[in-house]
Symmetry: C2
DNA sequence: AAATTAATTAATCAGATGATTAAAATTGTT
DNA sequence: AACAATTTTAATCATCTGATTAATTAATTT
């Protein structure tokens, strides 16, 4: 490892990301972040001014990770069919959430507390509603089902198991391996289900 | 109104339910509960000993509301077909969540922090896996799709919009009326979609 | 090397927060 | 009414928590 393998600022950011996503803003203590980062508490305020400012940075990173990276390129790839796009979206989210299980609850939970400011800056609205995918759905879907409903179906079917992971593992008596198999199976099936829904 | 329209204990419980479900355990101040209930802070500890004990009571009530009330009777009603059961479940949850929008995040978020103790006491496992509905699914579903997947599909399609409500309203530029229309439409469509999935 | 700037530390502050206490007020009992 | 038990209140405690400060150490510049 080089001397500056990770500088203090990055160590704090990494630790903050871990603790914030795991426990949420209110339950997080700045001392926990400092301990996790292995630095003096005062350095947190030295580099980031306040807990809230540090949180905002972490949240923005995660929002980008969650909303943009996954959707933008897929939704606008004109070479992909509807079904291929669904496959890509489900697969990307399944991979992302298998290694970031706390991401959905973290984001949804904290967005609830900040009704406005978040998310619109990321251009999520445009990414979705002006996308090639949305136009494909508009020209394909029947009067029974709107593109908005389809998109919520894709996201609901894909994200819900991760959001409800602790509950599902408990009630369905799954260990972590069972759960991974379960979402892998869904990764394969959801595009088929969406296809069935669109043909309905 | 009678003199004892609501006694102190109930006032505290009602207020605690409101504040806890809205803000979660960590972000809730006992002083906020006292203020919401219009009582002296000390009465909270007088009646419920501690913030945590009060929270546990509120959480148990909400878990029951969320898990048992909705599912138990429907899942075991032998007179209902699969499709009728799906209609009932979706409809009951849609009604419940329209008047309790914070319920899903509240429960899922706090279950995450209590991996074990919760939920198993409610017998949710038995309610689902020993239900008439589960057996119906077992005899109907193909090799492609297990009853577990179907149940998660029903719950995901139904609950996800409420879980992601702030995000959806923001990104899809909906007001509260739009959102209600949106979930009402889903209430009608989800049973049809589940049917399509089962026939797939 | 000296001087300047940046980074780090230990100690501390001020306000928030869950909880307790002792006294006062209310209600119930004899 | 007198007494006892219960409920309510205001004040206070002890601890937690985000943030700051002043001093120290390390790095950079001149």
């Amino acid at each position: 490892m080089s001397k500056k393998d990770t500088n203090t600022e990055d160590k704090i950011l990494k630790a903050a990301n871990k603790v914030f996503t795991q426990k949420g803003f209110a339950a997080t203590r700045t001392r926990d972040i400092a301990a996790e980062a292995g630095i003096n508490l005062a350095l947190l305020n030295y580099y980031f001014r306040s807990k809230k400012k540090l949180f905002d940075i972490v949240m923005l990173e995660n929002l980008k990770k969650f909303l943009v990276v996954n959707l933008k390129d897929i939704f606008n790839n004109e070479k992909l069919s509807i079904n291929q796009k669904v496959q890509e979206v489900v697969s990307k989210y399944t991979i992302l959430l298998k290694s970031n299980p706390d991401l959905p609850i973290f984001i949804l939970n904290e967005i609830k507390n900040n009704p406005q400011q978040l998310a619109q800056n990321l251009g999520a609205r445009e990414i979705i509603f002006q996308s090639h995918f949305f136009k494909q759905l508009q020209s394909q879907t029947t009067v029974k089902i709107s593109p908005k409903q389809v998109i919520i179906n894709i996201l609901g079917l894909t994200l819900f198991p991760f959001i409800a992971k602790p509950l599902i593992k408990n009630i369905m008596d799954m260990d972590s391996e069972d759960f991974d198999d379960f979402v892998d199976e869904r990764n394969h099936l959801i595009p088929i289900w969406i296809d069935a829904i669109l043909k309905e």
